[in-house]
């Protein structure tokens, strides 16, 4: 109970930091860019393609901007505390290190949540302007994007618990890119021809990747939306549960690293 209070205190301070440092102005700017660029792009195509373009482009933009925010905020989350020497007074309080990490992470999730909501609002606005009916599946798509961002930001925290912000950023982005391909690699592994048949010696590598890396394609339903295939709530719930499992493991690993660290 006390532990929860402490975690939430750290979370709300993390959130407040973003708010006070005007991070949300950047977010509004992002939303404006989304609106104008998708309106512009959809102007360029013939009318019956418009609907497809605003759907696709908006979803892509939210996901991409979200990943950029998740990586940047995630790798700086702990680093800033060290750089600004605020961590000494905080960690010397009655606060376990895992509570600190968890609080920081939850605070960041809150920031990401607001980011996703604002960008989605902008997207829905564009859909409305272009006469595309807002369907429930769009909401599901946004929820799934948030699930993906929760994994990406946890990866960022794990790397930043032992590496520099720049390297952590590169690694995290790398994991994101590979994670989006896990499904594809998996298909190649079961295929009767292709890369793993012509070069069987790298097969173990492919198997390791599909086993360790999160399958981020689960969170991308752009194709389903395009083909108007149904995305069930069960699927959404399962995918979010999958994200939660990864998050728990990643934060636990980050805590293990963090426990042993010296704050000199």
């Amino acid at each position: 109970m006390n532990s929860l209070i402490r975690i939430l205190a750290v979370a709300s301070n993390t959130f407040r930091e973003s708010a006070r440092q005007r991070a949300f102005i950047g977010l509004l700017l992002g939303a404006l860019i989304l609106v104008f660029s998708s309106l512009l792009v959809s102007e360029l195509v013939v009318y019956d393609q418009q609907r497809r373009v605003v759907q696709d482009f908006g979803l892509f933009f939210i996901s991409f901007a979200g990943v950029v925010i998740a990586v940047i905020v995630g790798v700086l989350l702990v680093y800033k505390e060290l750089e600004r020497k605020t961590i000494y007074s905080l960690l010397s309080k009655p606060l376990f290190r895992y509570e600190f990490l968890l609080g920081k992470y939850i605070g960041m999730l809150l920031v990401l949540l607001i980011g996703t909501v604002v960008l989605s609002g902008a997207w829905f606005l564009v859909l409305f302007v272009r006469d595309v009916p807002v369907r429930l599946v769009f909401l599901k798509a946004v929820l799934l994007i948030f699930g993906e961002l929760s994994i990406v930001s946890a990866v960022a925290i794990l790397f930043s618990s032992f590496s520099t912000p720049v390297l952590s950023g590169i690694f995290t982005f790398g994991i994101f890119v590979v994670g989006r391909q896990v499904y594809f690699i998996d298909e190649l592994l079961t295929a009767s021809k292709g890369l793993f048949v012509t070069a069987p010696q790298i097969r173990p590598l492919g198997e390791a990747v599909t086993r360790i890396f999160p399958d981020l394609s689960l969170f991308d339903v752009a194709r389903e939306i395009l083909l108007e295939v149904e995305v069930s709530w069960l699927y959404v719930a399962q995918s979010l549960a999958y994200a939660l499992c990864y998050v728990v493991i990643l934060i636990a690993l980050a805590t293990l690293v963090f426990q042993r660290r010296d704050f000199v």
Partner: protein
Amino acid sequence: MTSPVLKVEELKKTFKVGFARKVVDAVRGISFAVEPGEIFGFLGPNGAGKTTTIKTVMDLIRPTSGRVSLFGKPPGDMDARLRVGYLPEQPYFYDYLKPSELLEFFGKLYGIDSAERKRRIDRLLDRVGLGHAKDRTLRRFSKGMLQRAGLAQALIGNPDLVILDEPLSGLDPIGRKELKDVISNLRTEGKTVFFSSHILADIELLCDKIVIIDKGKLRFFGSTRDFLKTGRSEVEIVAAGVPEELLARVTSEGGAVDRFGNRTKIVVAGERSHELVKALLAAGADLDAVVPRTEGLEELFVRMAGKSEEAAR
């Protein structure tokens, strides 16, 4: 017998620096104990290992070997942590917060309920002299003001043990006086204060006990009184019209004499000064000044180092 609130046993900390993993011995096996109710000074020149020791006490860094205990528990223990307040050497806090917001945040970590938090925050800010700056964010604070905010955040949990790393640095003379008053008030409240400094004079008046370290090694641990007895105290006397035979006697007894025109500067051991002043007055000399010379830490270390070399021979 009371048990110590803070105990450091054979503490060693080694840092490995750079790609070459060059080894730096910051602390090389020091032991001491702080009893409840003491004001305890932690002295040493720059780079002696004070901050490193304090950070291991606060569980910010882990010892290479040796042990630290707070209230008989390991430094990471939650019960122990609830009873300690700490002011870091560099008092930097979340600069987007106002001091009251910072204290609010930290107060929650100590599990203080919100009514009590409010009461304490107002009282504390007044106590450290920040009552006028409640509505400014910490970004606009001067170094001295940050130091005061730092003291307030160390005290928010009403700790039994207060650990301050160089609390007097960055303060003007008035601020130093005020801070010393805060420290002696903490004693009257029955709290234990452990603070570091590299200035001997800061510690002499305030502390019951001191530890002196240098280059990661313990040089002295005991009461301030005992320390001052071992320390060589000297008195400097400036006078005019001093008879020659008196000067000859001073030199023969090991005193130092310097002449500036008709005035003479004499430096003698503290215990001889009383007698010499009497003799000077009897001889009709004009006394300009009688000043006790307090030995600086650096001089002290030079002398101590000399002694240990002698002992080694």
